[in-house]
């Protein structure tokens, strides 16, 4: 057992593949877990929907509940028109949820605790919002940055602030997920480390170790909640940003 709380986030190269612009591109444990996540989600959803009973069984209920949950989220924050982005949001939600939950299994690797992964997802959302916004509304999309009823004198400053606020979205979008997963896993590891260190310190230590052990159990439950909540927050923020692309100011 490693006592170093950062050790769990280490990237291990499995197979070096090729060099791209001086950087080595390898198949890492992160890539492996992403493949596992995609395979798991695909298998789960395809397997759940093959029988298509009118009265759903347990597995089919999982698929139906997750569909309805995400569909309601999309409808309530991006309107019915946002439903054309449903496949995208659903994929994001299932990927992040699965990554978070798989990361909670001891000795596994948490993909979403890598900043680069969450930044990629957030930038994908950002560019889809910008691209779709301009494609659908043309230059009308820029009305997003011009609030109504602002005096002409301070309008340039307000527009600059709005643009900066818009551009900071992918950062807060990605850092929120990343920081939650990172902090949660480090906390778990630190408390688990206390259990081991105290347990090695004689009889009194074993009694003392029960306290951090209870803490680890409670934190684990909290982390399970956070894993789900952060996937949901990621999805709902995506919907809110897409809503801006669909209805930019009037």
């Amino acid at each position: 057992m490693q006592l170093d709380p950062i050790h769990q986030f280490e990237i291990k190269n499995f197979w070096p593949l090729f060099n791209l612009g001086g950087h080595q591109i390898s198949f890492t444990n992160s890539a492996l877990y992403m493949f596992i996540i995609v395979a798991l989600v695909s298998l789960l959803l395809i397997g759940c929907t093959t029988r298509r009973a009118v009265v759903p069984g347990r597995l089919q209920s999982i698929a139906e509940i997750s569909y309805e949950f995400v569909a309601n989220t999309v409808r309530s924050s991006a309107g019915t028109e946002g439903m054309k982005f449903f496949p995208f949001v659903f994929t994001l939600f299932m990927f992040v949820l699965c990554a978070n939950v798989i990361g909670l299994i001891p000795y596994s690797f948490t993909v979403t605790s890598q900043l680069i992964v969450t930044v990629c997802l957030a930038l994908l959302v950002f560019f889809i919002v910008v691209g779709y916004g301009f494609w659908r509304n043309g230059l009308h999309f820029l009305n997003l940055f011009v609030p109504k009823g602002v005096p002409k004198l301070i309008l340039p400053a307000i527009v600059a602030i709005e643009v900066l606020s818009f551009m900071s979205r992918p950062i807060s979008h990605s850092v929120r997920l990343f920081a939650n997963m990172l902090a949660g896993h480090i906390t778990l590891q630190v408390f688990a480390g206390f259990v081991i260190m105290l347990g090695g310190a004689g009889v009194l230590g074993i009694f003392g170790a029960t306290l951090p052990f209870i803490m680890v159990v409670l934190l684990f439950a909290l982390e399970l909640l956070v894993a789900f909540l952060q996937a949901y927050v990621f999805a709902i923020l995506t919907c809110i940003y897409l809503n801006d692309a669909i209805h930019p100011g009037h």
């Binding site: 009823g149 602030i161 709005e162 900066l164 900071s168 909540l229 801006d244 100011g249």
Partner: protein, 129 residues
């Protein structure tokens, strides 16, 4: 005798039609209520992640601080890049750091639900977003 039976059939038919129309009306009312709820739900439920998550203080703090830091970082990054490209150091950094700070505050207030979002001119003011 056959008259009586026909009358009985007719009555029954009338009764079942009345029941049917009453049922239709009830269903319509229910549907209308559901639609209203859905519409209201759309207007009040969509104010963003702050409603979505009955967040603990820790989560809330993390969220708001990430919003603020994101604004400042983006402002500083853009200012620094402008300085490098245009050679106007240090003015780009100064101006855009301040603007970024303002954008961060705006993000925080929006995320906390204190002010409305950007896509809200006109009639859809308020928490609707």
């Amino acid at each position: 005798m056959s008259d009586a039976r026909e009358n009985g059939d007719w009555d029954r038919q009338q009764a079942s039609e009345a029941a049917l129309s009453a049922r239709l009306q009830r269903l319509n009312e229910g549907l209308g209520q559901a639609r209203d709820q859905a519409r209201n739900g759309h207007s009040s439920d969509s104010s963003g992640a702050q409603r979505a998550a009955p967040a603990s203080g820790y989560a809330k703090g993390l969220r708001l601080s990430s919003e603020l830091v994101a604004g400042v970082l983006v402002g500083a990054g853009i200012g620094w890049l402008l300085d490098r490209w245009l050679g106007i150091s240090p003015w780009g950094l100064i101006v855009f750091l301040l603007l970024g700070f303002a954008a961060g505050i705006l993000n925080v207030m929006r995320s906390a639900g204190l002010i409305a979002g950007p896509a809200l001119g006109g009639p859809r003011q308020g928490p609707d977003r």
